[in-house]
Structure formats: structure tokens, C-alpha cells
């Protein structure tokens, strides 16, 4: 066998590891062992397995994507520092200087909000001025926001135990907490592709969606005081929550990312042709018909408003098609990114829905109950399944898929938020 060919053999993951990789994994392992040693008698078998499985998963993530190592370590260090400042007293969140203004759970989340909005503005600035420096600043801001967000969640987790040990739980149990999770996951997915595809032009689009989530978090905090930690209702006291919810939000995050990219694709694509115009008009017409049917026959008013906005949005984007053609990356790249994002989202959304079914079988007496949330999950799943079929089986590319990814976000948002706002059902712990 000729040896020179071996030079072209791709290195396996283990061969590619360097000493910081090993250090990182060892630190994670030491942390996990410390936690196990100290808290094992409070944990059941599932929690112990989660602890070590997640150690492995995060080691692997850090090895695959080096930036994750820094983030994980940063979150760990800052969170532990913040926790150490509490001295086991929740009141110190508003007394100790560093906690009050920087790293108590509430402050950290507020910093996350601010940083995300700043990052969005900077990304748009970088896009229009083509400034490399501004792009770097925008990335740094996004990374900082992600760091602060995760610190906020970690410290919130700790705070929940300070209220009372029986109240303590992972902070992914209500709409306020999952909105933070959503922002963080979407941002992380974006940052990953930003590095992989070496483009910062899409940041503004993605961060726009995240900023909308931030707006919701702010409204929810100041108007509804949703930031107060609530104990878990019996239905949520399950280990399934810890995996079902994050898996779902990787799905939602990826679909949002795909929509943002789809939107960029349309604004960076050539203006619409006559045939496309007809299709768009049909889509708008169908949307309006559905809106009218929903309002006057089913007496379901929120749906109407929702769909009316959708119709306006479709028309708005259609008119603005192609305006950013000079500023954006090539359509091929956007197309590929959109596909990759939807593929990740679809895979995780499938897993999340299956996990949800397992959980439902344990909590509600059946793996499927046609609960509104379940049904909408199915609709979202079918929607993206159709998208993937068109692309993979029919080989379709181009604006149609971009449109679809964009409108898919409306469907996804309704499943994520609309169901909680307008429909009642078994998933009622997520109500506004």
C-alpha cells in the first residue's frame, strides 16, 4: 500500500484533539465527579445518568466546536462566582453590588437582553458599512449575551433552591424561562454557522428574531412579573422535562434561524417573476380566506389577527425582494445554510416530539391525546417534512423554499406561542 496516500486520510476526532481539549474534558469530568460526590444522595438514577451523559455530550460539543469550550468554562466560572456571592441568602441578589448590577440571575438576564439588542444594531451597521471591525464587535456582543444568558439561567436554578429546597427546579418550566432558552439556543446555532460559513452578514436577520424574543421577555417581566420563580405543578415534576424542553427549543431555534436565512435569501435575491407573483397572490389569498373562515364561522378571533399579519408580512417581503442584493452572501450559501438549519431542527424536533410522547404516556395516560400543542407539533413537523421532501426528493432549490422557511416560522411561532395564548389544553402551564 502506498504510504503517501495516507497523508490524505482525514484525521479522526481523537487524533485532532490537543491538550486544551483534554484539559477541558477533564475539568468537566472533575466537576461532574465533585457534584456526584457531594449531591449523589439527592439524585435518582436518571439524574445521575444525566450528569454523566451531559459531561460526555459537552466534552464532545467542545471538541467539535472549540468556541464551546470557552463558553462552557466562562459560564461555569461566572455562575459559580455569582453563587458564591449569595452566601445562601436570596435577599443578597438586590444588596450585594456585583449581584445587583451584574450577575444575579435577574441582572444577568437583563444584560443578555441589552447585549442582544446592541448586537443586532451592530450587525446591521456592519452589513451596510461592510465594516469587518463592526462585524467582529457584533459577534463579541452576541457571545457576551449568550454568556450572560446562561449565567442568568444557572443562577436562577440556584435561586430557586434558595426559595425552598422543594421549590428548586431547572429553569425551563414556564414561558419566561423558555424564551430565554430560545434566545440562547438560536444565538448559539447562529454563531456556529457564522464561524462555519465565515459570514457575518446574516447576524442582523437572526438577531432581529432574537430581539423580538427579548422584547417579549421584557414585556413579560415588567408587565406580568413573570420573572418570579414559581414552584413546579405536579405534572411538570418529571425528568422528561429536562430533555423534552431543550430538544424542542433546539428545533424551534433552528427553524427560526432557517426563517431568518430564508428572509435574507429573499431580500438578497432578484425581484420576483410573473409566475412567482401569481403564487404569492394565491398564498396571500388563501391566508385571507382562512382568516375569514376562522373569524366568521369558527368565531376564533385571534387566528384572524394572526393570519392578517401573516398576509401583510408576505406582501411586505414580496415587495422588498432583492433590495439587499449587494450586501448579502451568494444565494447558494444561504440555500445550503437554510437546509442545514432545517435538517438540524427537524431532527431535534422529531426527537423532542417523541420524548414528549413518552412523557405524555407517563403523565396523561396516553402517548398521543390530540392536545392542541401536540397537534400543532404534528403540523409543524409535517410542514418541515414537506419542505425536506421537496428539496431532497424533488431537488427543488431557490426562492420557493426560502418563502416556505419564512412562512414556516409563522406556523412554528403559532405552535410555540399561539397555542399557549389562544388555545387551552393539557399544556396549560405555558399560558400567558
Amino acid at each position: 500500500m502506498s504510504t503517501d496516500a495516507l497523508n490524505y486520510k482525514p484525521q479522526s476526532l481523537l487524533q485532532r484533539l490537543n491538550w486544551p481539549d483534554y484539559l477541558y474534558a477533564s475539568l468537566l469530568m472533575v466537576g461532574a465527579l465533585f457534584a456526584y460526590n457531594k449531591y449523589a444522595h439527592f439524585m435518582d438514577i436518571y439524574e445521575v445518568s444525566f450528569l454523566f451523559i451531559f459531561t460526555a455530550v459537552f466534552s464532545w460539543l467542545g471538541w467539535q466546536w472549540k468556541a464551546m469550550r470557552g463558553l462552557t468554562m466562562g459560564v461555569a466560572v461566572v455562575s459559580l462566582f455569582s453563587i458564591s456571592l449569595y452566601h445562601g441568602d436570596q435577599a443578597r441578589a438586590t444588596q450585594a453590588f456585583l449581584l445587583k448590577y451584574l450577575i444575579s440571575s435577574q441582572s444577568a438576564i437583563m444584560w443578555m437582553n441589552v447585549l442582544f439588542v446592541l448586537a443586532m444594531v451592530t450587525y446591521w451597521f456592519a452589513l451596510f458599512t461592510r465594516s469587518v471591525f463592526a462585524g467582529k464587535v457584533a459577534s463579541a456582543l452576541t457571545w457576551s449575551a449568550v454568556l450572560m444568558g446562561f449565567v442568568g439561567l444557572m443562577v436562577r436554578w440556584y435561586e430557586s433552591y434558595l426559595i425552598a429546597p422543594e421549590v428548586g427546579h431547572i429553569p425551563i418550566s414556564n414561558l419566561y424561562e423558555v424564551f430565554i432558552l430560545f434566545s440562547l439556543i438560536t444565538a448559539l446555532l447562529y454563531l456556529h454557522y457564522e464561524q462555519k460559513f465565515k459570514t457575518k452578514q446574516l447576524g442582523g436577520f437572526v438577531l432581529l428574531i432574537i430581539s423580538a424574543a427579548v422584547g417579549f421577555i421584557l414585556w413579560y417581566t415588567f408587565d406580568r412579573h413573570a420573572n418570579n420563580i414559581q414552584p413546579l405543578v405536579p405534572a411538570l415534576q418529571s425528568y422528561w422535562m429536562k430533555i423534552h424542553v431543550p430538544a424542542n427549543f433546539i428545533g424551534y431555534g433552528s427553524f427560526s434561524l432557517a426563517a431568518a436565512v430564508g428572509w435574507a435569501y429573499l431580500l438578497g435575491n432578484q425581484p420576483v417573476s410573473g409566475a412567482e407573483k401569481k403564487q404569492l397572490l394565491t398564498a396571500t389569498g388563501l391566508t385571507l380566506t382562512a382568516a375569514i373562515f376562522g373569524t366568521f364561522v369558527l368565531h376564533f378571533y385571534p387566528f384572524f389577527t394572526w393570519l392578517l399579519w401573516a398576509a401583510l408580512f408576505i406582501l411586505g417581503t414580496a415587495t422588498a425582494q432583492g433590495v439587499l442584493v449587494k450586501f448579502l452572501p451568494k444565494p447558494d450559501l444561504l440555500d445550503d445554510l437554510m437546509y442545514k438549519s432545517i435538517a438540524v431542527g427537524f431532527a431535534f424536533f422529531t426527537i423532542a416530539t417523541i420524548l414528549g410522547a413518552f412523557w405524555a404516556a407517563e403523565a396523561w395516560g396516553g402517548y398521543w391525546s390530540w392536545d392542541p400543542k401536540e397537534t400543532w407539533a404534528l403540523i409543524v413537523w409535517l410542514n418541515y417534512a414537506a419542505w425536506l421532501h421537496l428539496r431532497m426528493v424533488k431537488g427543488l432549490r431557490g426562492p420557493v423554499l426560502a418563502w416556505w422557511a419564512l412562512i414556516g416560522l409563522l406556523v412554528t411561532t403559532f405552535a410555540f406561542l399561539g397555542v399557549n395564548m389562544f388555545l387551552s389544553g393539557l399544556h396549560s402551564y405555558g399560558t400567558l
Partner: protein
């Protein structure tokens, strides 16, 4: 494929309607909401239970069949593709490829071949060789073939999942219903009297049914709700509820629901005792028993009943879900006790931003008159603190659509209703009025005025009290409107209200004295203000009793709580298939997305030039999915081959 896609779209639309239109509600509610016409149309096409309607199930069935056909038809081809190396490719066809490159190589055939094969191995490609008679040789290689399995796995998964779902669905029941073997029962009759045609045997392979057990009771039947009726599911064993427990967090929110169950079965040597709670069901004989909800199980109640329009009091006993009688003759009322709740978490802070608190038990009941008209009441047992003052709260509404209107009766120093009830008796008893009027006159005029003025004043106070006792402030306002010219009304109203307040104060004091209760405290400013407020609140409450809709105030004195636990019983033979399908689906999705099928052909030919030791290589590459990754890989390989082959 086209057919499957239209079926899927129809399924999607039906599903959306099923979420927007609340499913399985009471039929009367639908009639009220949609009107007779739409109700009948919707009912006919099964929109009130979309997911179990025949047409929905038929679509599902079609999907299963269509997907199965798709899989059986395409799988052989896919498997062939998976195995094939496509070594039959001709030079001509390879030259037509989009991704191809030519190399001139300074080595002979054998050396070139060795280099190429080791390159392919390094890249984890498997290959097959084919020598041609003209001296050329084709290396056909491939990687990531298992992507094809992804297609088979995902589509088979859908079939398996739907098959499991159909096993657990109600298609067999639907068919039995159509054939007339089963008929849903729509009447509320005792379980024992439900006819055999409306019963499901213990051997029923798949069901989802509910049963409610009172503490201490046992049962071996459950109910399957269907449309506007039900079927009775007979169980192969009996379940007894020993105890139901609800635990709360310090804030009052529910923390856990638990039922202690005892399962008895002739097949068992001794009964099984077990505890179920939310998220922790118990399975016996393939039937999973879930903690689903809870309700009152007939709590025993004792009341003190105050007649609001005279000074009578009486005792009344009852239990939730039972009825009692109040009054006699044409004014007799039936009391229907509907619900007892031990904990009520309310937010009573004025701006709604404070913390919700537990305000203790309440009772919901209906008072039905001889004509059959009923008003609904909700009454709290303990006084609630609102803006620093304690009140007994009772709400009334005429119909279910209305909001409750609340009567707030101030609690006295001892936290009881006693003082108010005394006060109201004085206010209603006209024999007290002259004395009240006299005290008022003395306090107002002292000795300064003549008797005639005083008498006139006293008379007007008595008249005022008579008016007020007939219907409170509302009645007084009507009287003013009738007798006083418009210009003077506001002034008159102010004067009357002042007089009523003063009279109320005297009436309150007299009520306390009559009942030998301690007098109102006026010894300092703070106590004096408190007393004033108590009297004002009492006057308001007295005025509101005229709108309470019944002459009785039911104060809950004692209760003996009995709870009932709602269980869900599920037998689901399809679960295994659904889970198996789910596993296949995940495997399939990952192999479809993350295994990339690529093929490489390398054709080695003797060089076209004279030198016999040189060769030519045609490198062609293809993938069934063209994307950026593939483009990059082709570029990388074609660049790497150059130095490898020429070095």
C-alpha cells in the same frame, strides 16, 4: 406521492380545525356558540371530535396504505442502489459528468492503481474493479451508502407508528357502532342499569377510560366518553381508593396529588396496595392506572343560616352533591351543594401585584325556587382581609355566563358575623326607630331647640329609616327622585346619607347592647375611625343584601372533607409499535441527513502518448444530493489527487 401529499395537507387542515374548535364539549355549548344550522352541519361531519371521526381515520388509513405501497415499491430499488458499485459505467457516460477531472500520470498502470486504491481506502470508500478488454480498468467506489437505508427506515417508521396508532384508535369501536353491535348511552343512569350494548367487555384490547372513586369506595367499571354520551368499560379487577392526598407548597400552589389504591382480583392471592401520583402510574394486567384529577367526594357540611330580612337563625346540614330545603310554602328553596374547596389561592392586593394567598375553604351551591329558577352562590368560610379590614365574602350570579356579584359583610372584633346580624335586625325592626331618632335628635340639638323642631326631626329620621329598610341606598335614591325637586336632590342626598350614617351608628350600638356584646370602642382617634368604618361597611352590606337574591346567608360552621380521586385507565397495545416506529424514525432521519452518499469512478487508461509507462486517469464524482459539502469535497479530492499521482 401526489396523493399522499394531498392527504397530508387535508390531515393538516383537519388538525388545525380540531385545535381551534374546542373538542368534546357539551353539545349545548356548541349550539349556543354556533347556532342550530352550523351546529348540525359541524356535528354531521364530526367536527366536535375531529380526531375520532370516520373520515379522519380513513385518511390515516389511506396514508398508511399509500406510504406502505411507496416503501414496498421503492425499497428493492433502494437496496439495489445500496449494494451496487455501478462498475458498468462507460467512459462516455463518465465524461458527461459535471464533476470530473483528467490526470496525466508518469506511472504505469499497476503503480497508478495502487496509489488510487490506497487513496480511496484512506477516504473510507469501498470499491470494485472492472478491467476492460482495451487495457483500461475502472475503479467504481462509493461511501455513505446507508443514506439509502434512511429512506426505508423513515417511511417504514411512519407505517409502524400509524399501525400502532390504529391499534389504539377507536376504529374497531366505530365499526361495531356502524354495524349496530354497540350503542353509546346518553342518559345519566346508574352503572348497573347500563345495557349490555353500551358496555365494553374486560377483554377489550384497547381503551382509555375514566373512573371517579370516593375515598373508601371501590369500583370495577370505568367510563369511555364518546360524543354526547359514554360507554361503560368493565374492568377485569376492582380498584378501591383508600386515601387521596393533595399536598401544597408554602405559597398554596399544589405540589402533589396522590391516591392510595388497593387492587383486588380473584387471580391474586392477596390484594395489591399501591400509591399512584401524577407522572407515576401503576400498571396491572396491561392496564395503566393514572392519577388524572380530583374532585369532592361528598364533603359533609354544617351551616348557620341567617335570615337577612328578619332576625331568625337556623341550622342546616348537607353534603356536596346532595340537596337540602330552606323555608316553607311558596317561598321554599332547594339548596343544591355543588362543590367544596379546601384551598383557594387569591390575590387580594389592591393593585394585583402582591403575593397570592390561601384564603381558606369555600362552598359553591345553588338556591332553586319553586319555579325551578336557580341562582348560584359561592361563599367563603373565613373572613378575608381586604385593604386592612376583614370581610365575609359571598358571591351570587343569576346565570353561568355572569360574573359573581359579591356581598362583603364586615367581620367584627371577634372575627364573627354576629354584630352585623344584630345590626341588621335593629335596622329592620321599626320599633327601634323612635329611640334611634331620639338619640340622634339629642346629639344634634342638645337643649338648644324647642320640642316641635326636635319632633319634626325625629319624624323625618323614622321616615328615612323606614325607606332605607325597604331597599337600601337604591330605594332611598328612588324616593329622593320621586319627592325632591331636581335642584335640591344632591343636597338632600348628602343630608340623608349623613343622617343614615349617624342612625347606623346608633343602630349598631343598640344591636350590640341587645346581644350583650361589648360596645364600639371610641376611646381614641384610631379606634373611633375603625368603628366608623365598621358601621359604614355594615350599612353598605345591609344595603347590598337587597340584591343578594335570597333571604338566607349560609355560613359554613363545620365541614368533614371527603375527596374523590379521578383515575384514568388505559390499555394501549399499540404503544410498543409506536415506540418502535419512533426509534426507526430517529435512526432514519439521522442517516438521511448526516450520511452522505457519494460515488467515485476512476478510469485508468494507458497514456495516449508513446511512453508506455505513463497512464491517464479520469476522475468522476457524483452524489444523489448536490450541495455545498459535495462541491467542497470534489474540489478537495481533485486537488489532492494531483500531487499524489504526479509526485
Amino acid at each position: 406521492m401526489r396523493f399522499a401529499v394531498s392527504m397530508l395537507s387535508l390531515l393538516g387542515i383537519a388538525s388545525v380545525i380540531g385545535t381551534v374548535l374546542k373538542q368534546n364539549q357539551v353539545y349545548e355549548d356548541y349550539i349556543i356558540k354556533f347556532g342550530q344550522f352550523w351546529f348540525q352541519s359541524f356535528e354531521k361531519i364530526g367536527l366536535f371530535d375531529v380526531y375520532h371521526s370516520l373520515w379522519f381515520l380513513v385518511i390515516l388509513l389511506f396514508l398508511v396504505i399509500s406510504t406502505s405501497l411507496c416503501v414496498t415499491r421503492n425499497s428493492p430499488m433502494m437496496l439495489k442502489e445500496l449494494k451496487a458499485f455501478k462498475e458498468g459505467a462507460t467512459e462516455k457516460s463518465l465524461r458527461a459528468f459535471e464533476h470530473k477531472k483528467n490526470y496525466e500520470i508518469p506511472y504505469d498502470h499497476a503503480a497508478t492503481k495502487e496509489k488510487l486504491l490506497s487513496f480511496l481506502s484512506a477516504k473510507n470508500f469501498r470499491y470494485k474493479l472492472k478491467a476492460h478488454p482495451d487495457g483500461s480498468e475502472l475503479i467504481a467506489a462509493k461511501a455513505g451508502s446507508y443514506q439509502r437505508l434512511g429512506y426505508i427506515l423513515t417511511h417504514a417508521a411512519i407505517v409502524v407508528i400509524c399501525f400502532g396508532g390504529l391499534l389504539d384508535g377507536n376504529l374497531p369501536l366505530k365499526i361495531q357502532e356502524l354495524l349496530g353491535h354497540k350503542k353509546i348511552e346518553t342518559l345519566d343512569i346508574p352503572v348497573g342499569e347500563v345495557a349490555k350494548i353500551s358496555r365494553l367487555s374486560p377483554g377489550n384490547p384497547s381503551f382509555r377510560a375514566n373512573m371517579t372513586l370516593n375515598e373508601g369506595a371501590a369500583g370495577n367499571t370505568a367510563f369511555v366518553r364518546i360524543r354526547d354520551g359514554y360507554l361503560v368499560q368493565d374492568l377485569p379487577f376492582s380498584i378501591a381508593l383508600k386515601d387521596f392526598r393533595m399536598e401544597n407548597y408554602a405559597t398554596g400552589q399544589p405540589k402533589s396529588f396522590e391516591s392510595d389504591l388497593v387492587i383486588t382480583d380473584p387471580a391474586l392471592a392477596q390484594p395489591i396496595a399501591t400509591t399512584i401520583r401524577v407522572n407515576h402510574p401503576f400498571t396491572y394486567k396491561g392496564i395503566a392506572i393514572y392519577q388524572s384529577d380530583f374532585q369532592d367526594g361528598g364533603t359533609n357540611l354544617d351551616f348557620n343560616v341567617f335570615n337577612l330580612f328578619n332576625s331568625e337563625t337556623q341550622k342546616l346540614s348537607g353534603a356536596i352533591f346532595s340537596k337540602s330545603d330552606l323555608g316553607a310554602g311558596a317561598h321554599a328553596l332547594k339548596v343544591e351543594f355543588n362543590d367544596f374547596r379546601l384551598f383557594n389561592i387569591l390575590n387580594l392586593s389592591p393593585d394585583g401585584k402582591g403575593k397570592p394567598r390561601n384564603v381558606g375553604p369555600n362552598i359553591t351551591y345553588k338556591l332553586r325556587d319553586q319555579q325551578g329558577q336557580a341562582r348560584e352562590y359561592v361563599t367563603y368560610m373565613q373572613p378575608m382581609q381586604i385593604e386592612g379590614q376583614y370581610y365575609f365574602i359571598s358571591g351570587m350570579r343569576e346565570t353561568v355566563q355572569d360574573e359573581f356579584h359579591y356581598l362583603r359583610i364586615p367581620a367584627d372584633e371577634d372575627g364573627s358575623l354576629e354584630s352585623f346580624m344584630q345590626f341588621k335586625s335593629v335596622m329592620l325592626n321599626s320599633t327601634y326607630y323612635p329611640e334611634i331618632a331620639h338619640r340622634l335628635a339629642s346629639a344634634t340639638f342638645g337643649n338648644k331647640f324647642d320640642d316641635a323642631t326636635k319632633t319634626q326631626f325625629e319624624q323625618s329620621v323614622v321616615q328615612l329609616l323606614q325607606t332605607f329598610a325597604k331597599g337600601g341606598y337604591t330605594h332611598l335614591a328612588e324616593a329622593i327622585e320621586k319627592r325632591v325637586p331636581p335642584a335640591q336632590r344632591e343636597k338632600a342626598a348628602q343630608t340623608y346619607v349623613k343622617m343614615i350614617n349617624a342612625a347606623g351608628f346608633e343602630a349598631y350600638s343598640m344591636g350590640l347592647a341587645a346581644a350583650k356584646l361589648p360596645a364600639l370602642k371610641l376611646n381614641n382617634v384610631k379606634n373611633s375611625e375603625k368603628s366608623q368604618r365598621l358601621v359604614l361597611d355594615s350599612l353598605n352590606a345591609f344595603s347590598d343584601t337587597f340584591f343578594y337574591g335570597a333571604p338566607y346567608y349560609l355560613q359554613l360552621a363545620h365541614y368533614e372533607q371527603k375527596q374523590a380521586s379521578g383515575l384514568q385507565l388505559t390499555k394501549s397495545p399499540g404503544q410498543f409499535w409506536v415506540y418502535l416506529g419512533s426509534a426507526l424514525l430517529v435512526l432514519g432521519i439521522f442517516s438521511m441527513f448526516y450520511v452522505r452518499e457519494r460515488r467515485i469512478w476512476l478510469l485508468i487508461k494507458p497514456s495516449a502518448y508513446v511512453n508506455i509507462n505513463h497512464s491517464q486517469v479520469l476522475f468522476a464524482m457524483a452524489s444523489n444530493r448536490k450541495n455545498l459539502d459535495f462541491e467542497q469535497e470534489f474540489k478537495l479530492y481533485s486537488e489532492q489527487l494531483q500531487p499524489l499521482l504526479t509526485a
